[in-house]
């Protein structure tokens, strides 16, 4: 069978396929599901091996996150946050602790709250908050996820904060290679924000925003952790020169490719069947096209990343 004949058999209604594109037969749809599922299992297995073919890559940078955060604030009529090196130091300490104690939470297994790192970095705050994110491939998706979460958004557009500090650190948490983003907000005691001693924003279960009125006199100590030392540095830049592929993006590409073939078969089958006025007792191609396209749209919204 020539390539043209094979294409006609699999994608168009023809006497060889009982006038229904072979890919749209139940066995054909089952085969597509099989490719999606088996391909996904294969990619996950590849990711879990020590071959280092797959890994996590991210284009998130500190500058981009600061800029995007300030854009959101300006859009809400708020003042931009200024970058504070002590807050950044606190964020790096928090990230290092998360890798060291191997946890994905605001509080460490040994009971350290996020505010410990503010104190250790010597940042005396009136107001402070923390947003966490991991596994995001780019800044815009991460910001979208934070802004879609009311508690994280509350931190980003909180008028009480005047400063921001960030750490974007590659590493491994709970066996998964990732890029961790720690975003800390604060208003220092010497800042422009008037103190509201009795006001309290209760810590939320997801994003944390908390008011403290105590000073934190502990001195800043040198930080000996593997972390971003430059605001310009991307996590990608820290990775070795080996070609690496993101398992999530490969899965998405596999799904898009197989679905594109399915949609192509649906469209060609529909157009040819209607032009030839074929009478068949089969599923409704229009309905399948609507359903699958909305599912595809959903897969473009789904993030690999997680926020806390």
């Amino acid at each position: 069978m020539s390539i043209t004949a094979k294409f006609r058999h699999w994608f168009t209604p023809h006497h060889t396929n009982n006038f229904r594109a072979r890919l749209l037969h139940n066995s054909g749809i089952f085969a597509i599901i099989g490719i999606v599922v088996v391909g996904n299992v294969f990619l996950r297995l590849l990711d879990s091996t020590n071959l280092h073919i797959l890994g996590f890559t991210s284009s998130v940078t500190i500058d981009e996150v600061v800029r995007a955060t300030n854009e959101e604030r300006v859009a809400q009529g708020l003042k931009s946050l200024s970058y504070n090196e002590r807050l950044a130091d606190a964020a790096r300490r928090k990230a290092a602790n998360m890798f060291a104690e191997n946890y994905w939470a605001h509080n460490s297994p040994s009971g350290k709250s996020p505010w410990v790192w503010f104190k250790e970095a010597g940042y005396s705050y009136v107001y402070a908050g923390e947003n966490l994110a991991k596994d995001f491939g780019d800044t815009s998706r991460m910001m979208s996820a934070w802004m879609a979460s009311p508690t994280h958004k509350d931190n980003i557009v909180n008028p009480k904060y005047t400063e921001i500090g960030l750490a974007v650190v590659p590493g491994t948490i709970q066996g998964q290679e990732t890029v961790l983003v720690v975003q800390l907000f604060g208003a220092s005691q010497g800042g422009a924000v008037p103190q509201v001693a009795s006001a309290a924003i209760a810590p939320a279960p997801v994003a944390i925003a908390q008011v403290q009125t105590t000073s934190v006199p502990s001195p800043t100590q040198p930080l000996l952790i593997e972390s971003e030392s430059s605001r310009e540095m991307s996590p990608d830049a820290k990775q070795s020169g080996r070609p690496r592929y993101n398992q999530f993006n490969l899965t998405r590409a596999l799904n898009l490719g197989t679905t594109a073939l399915f949609i192509l078969a649906l469209v060609l089958d529909l157009l040819i069947a209607e032009s030839r006025v074929l009478t068949r007792r089969v599923g409704n191609n229009w309905a399948h096209i609507i359903f699958i396209n909305f599912i595809l749209l959903a897969t473009t919204i789904v993030n690999a990343g997680k926020i806390l």
Partner: protein, 81 residues
């Protein structure tokens, strides 16, 4: 004029509700999976009702809608789980 316009309108409304909820709760993977399962189940039911209404109901068509619904579920769940 489109035949069975009400059926397609209902399906389009379901699809729009699904995508809006996915966008709204994109930061909660469990919700995304739950919403996709609901959308897939409703699509399967929609298919059966549509073919019963149009007089083209057949067991093979039921299986076809089931498989397409499962394909949709597989496409999203492989990204979430």
């Amino acid at each position: 004029m489109i035949r069975h316009a009400s059926d397609y309108s209902f399906l389009a409304i379901l699809a729009v509700i699904y995508i809006v909820s996915i966008f709204r709760y994109q930061s909660t993977p469990q919700y995304l999976l739950f919403a996709t399962i609901i959308f897939a189940v409703l699509y399967f039911i929609w298919g059966i009702f549509h073919h019963v209404r149009t007089g083209s109901f057949h067991a093979k068509i039921v299986l076809e809608y089931l498989l397409v619904a499962l394909l949709g579920l597989a496409l999203v769940s492989t990204l979430l789980i």
